[in-house]
């Protein structure tokens, strides 16, 4: 019995030691990486990771991904437990907050010594990742807001496509006409989105916030009152979903949006989400990306936005290898063939030229759209001030636009309320 126990212990130890012996290569560096996205993005990113690992056998990448909403919970939990990765995907909205709290490592040294090669990237794009003069993130793709037009629906309704510099007035007429002719919604969900509120201010050649971020940056609320009134008119006419109907689309994601289901002819989407929408809609649909409408006699509502960044947390264990990965991701032709501009139009000009001939129609349309936007756009606005998350999540949606759409407050009353709350919350930045 004793010898049996002894030999069992030996076997157990051997079995437990075996995987350790096999995987513990000498000098393997483990790089941790996190990102958010759709399944399409996850699959592509993993392929690129494997490509990088093949070229760098001494680097092993451990990755974690999720959807956008869960991502920030995940990363803030990691931050709290001091287990942030080496490379993390970051967003323009959160970059300033994280950078100013010292959670991110400046990339300027890596750029200066060439570990991250930015020679083919436009200076304005590099600057979009700078906070207080230091670079905290490298843009992974250019992006702009788009209205996706269902070309076949327009044709069926007997309408020409609008001109790229169409006004909100023309937009309203178009949507009503589409609804009359086709019986579906002319426009889908998110017409009251906070990003459109900001675009409205850009169209009026001003910014939503003051320069020091302690209050709203404009005094005249008439533009927003008009926008909300338009939404109410379209809602009443049945040309856009009622707010009750729109809430049901909260949980479906871009793949379940009205345009995909054939229930609307226009949909609002950031240009890099168009691929997911088009894939979900199927190959027999015909979409074109269009400029946002602008105010009468106003500036373009569009701007070229960095879609997302790669940043290196200040606590990263292998910053050098992290920088090498970022450089590979941005500049490698092979990697970008796999990524297929899913995160936005590539920032490196040679990569863009390399990809252009082989693109599928939807991506080609996206590239073309960004080129059109670059030619006719406003400059990138500053990032959102601290405290905007509170305003956006707790006031803008539930207490402002939702309340107006449920007709519990008039637009005039509501913009007054929003102004007071916004100034109260932003004043805390003083």
């Amino acid at each position: 019995m004793k010898s049996l126990r002894y030999s069992l212990v030996l076997v157990l130890v051997a079995v437990l030691a075996l995987p350790v012996a096999v995987t513990q290569g000498q000098g393997t560096i483990e790089l941790q990486l996190t990102w958010w996205g759709s399944q399409t993005r996850h699959d592509k990113t993993i392929e690129v990771i494997e490509l990088f690992e093949a070229e760098h056998p001494d680097i092993d990448i451990i990755y974690e991904f999720s959807n956008f909403t869960d991502y920030w919970t995940l990363l803030s939990t990691k931050a709290a437990s001091d287990s942030l990765p080496d490379v993390m995907q970051h967003d323009y909205a959160y970059l300033a907050e994280w950078a100013l709290r010292g959670q991110l490592m400046p990339l300027d040294d890596f750029i200066a010594d060439g570990t991250i090669d930015v020679s083919n990237i436009a200076q304005s794009i590099i600057d979009s990742g700078k906070i207080d003069g230091q670079t905290y993130g490298l843009s992974l793709g250019s992006n702009s807001q788009a209205f996706i037009l269902d070309v076949d629906a327009f044709a069926a309704a007997g309408l020409d496509l609008p001109s790229p510099d169409w006004t909100w007035q023309e937009f309203e007429e178009t949507v009503l006409k589409l609804h009359e002719e086709l019986g579906i919604w002319g426009f889908g969900t998110l017409l009251d989105d906070e990003a459109l509120w900001k675009s409205l201010q850009i169209g009026h050649d001003r910014w939503a916030f003051s320069e020091d971020g302690t209050s709203l940056g404009y005094e005249d609320d008439q533009a927003m009152i008009d926008h909300l009134s338009m939404i109410l008119r379209l809602q009443d006419a049945g040309a856009i979903p009622t707010i009750e109907e729109e809430i049901e689309y909260d949980t479906t994601g871009p793949e379940g949006s009205p345009l995909v289901l054939g229930k609307s002819a226009i949909q609002y989407q950031w240009s890099n989400q168009v691929l997911a929408v088009a894939n979900a809609a199927g190959p027999d649909r015909n979409f074109k990306l269009w400029h946002l409408p602008r105010p009468e006699g106003g500036q373009p509502s569009n701007y070229v936005k960095p879609s997302m960044f790669f940043s290196i947390p200040a606590s990263a264990e292998h910053p050098q290898e992290a920088a090498m990965f970022i450089d590979f991701f941005t500049n490698s032709m092979e990697a970008n063939e796999i990524l297929a501009a899913e995160r936005g139009v590539p920032v490196s000009a040679p990569v863009r030229e390399h990809l252009l001939p082989d693109l599928d129609p939807v991506m080609a349309e996206t590239f073309d759209f960004l080129v059109r936007v670059e030619a006719d756009s406003s400059p990138v606005p500053p990032p959102d001030p601290p405290g905007y998350a509170d305003l956006r999540l707790n006031v803008y949606g539930p207490q402002f636009v939702d309340v107006v759409r449920f007709e519990e407050m008039t637009p005039e009353e509501a913009v007054q309320f929003f102004r007071e709350e916004a100034n109260r919350i932003l004043a805390q930045n003083r």
Binding site: I243, E248, L393, G397, Q399
Partner: protein
Amino acid sequence: MGGRVASLENESPLTRIRARWFARKKQYSISRNNFVGYLFISPWLIGFFLFSLIPIAASLVLAFTDYDLLASDIQFIGLENFSRMFNEDLRYWKSVNATLRYVFFAVPLRLTFALTVAMLLNTKRRGVYLYRAAYYTPSIVGGSVAVAIMWRQIFGTDGLVNAALGLDVRWFGDPRFALWTLITLAVWQFGSPMLIFLAGLRQIPAELYEASSIDGANALQRFRRITLPMLTPIIFFNLVMQTIQNFQQFTQAFIITGGNGRPLDRTLLYPLYLYRRAFVNYEMGYASAMSWVLLLTIALLTALLFTSSRQ
């Protein structure tokens, strides 16, 4: 034990020594039993300290700070979280409102269903076991993501309820009805209070019922005069447990209605709002303050229930 030894004064020395030895051995084995007992529950004890007690204490401290999960510099801000909560935060009161409405409807309805079904199942007929299991199953599976997704399908615009009743109601979008989708889910899971009621019903002596029906009491009178009074302690127990539990309802609200309280914050249950403040707004200090207010409120309510039951 001292008494035993004293009564041996008149015994022989050998007997006294042996008695003392046995007494000490018993004392030793009692404390050794205690130690072994603690050893056996030590996994749970460690877990309780690490994952319950210490975090709870930590959250009490955090409630007075501006901790934002990114932990760059935490500062004590005294009662500022609480004053903001009660004076400035409009959504706070909406979440209180939503939670009170939820508990006010869900708990009595759930208990009513539980008691009714328990009385129906209180028979010795064959096959009653199957029904018991069937009615209990929702309680087990109800807290899961799968059920939440199923519920979204059932109450969706093109879902089961609208199809079966021939309606076109927006159950999730209409502010009048959205909370009821959650209340219905809570009521559907009446299984565990039902089992407790069943156990209580089984303890009521059958002779009471027989005697009362001989005296000519009908079913309603039997219920009011016998069943209810005999079940009072059980009803009270279920009431307290269900109230405590339903004030903390989070998962269903998070998944079914998109976790954002829409429409118009009618489904913004308190724990959901707390979660959003902590993990979406990065205001963990504020959320800790909220959670302690919840704890004190539930404790107060439970104390009220206890004192009102002193009749």
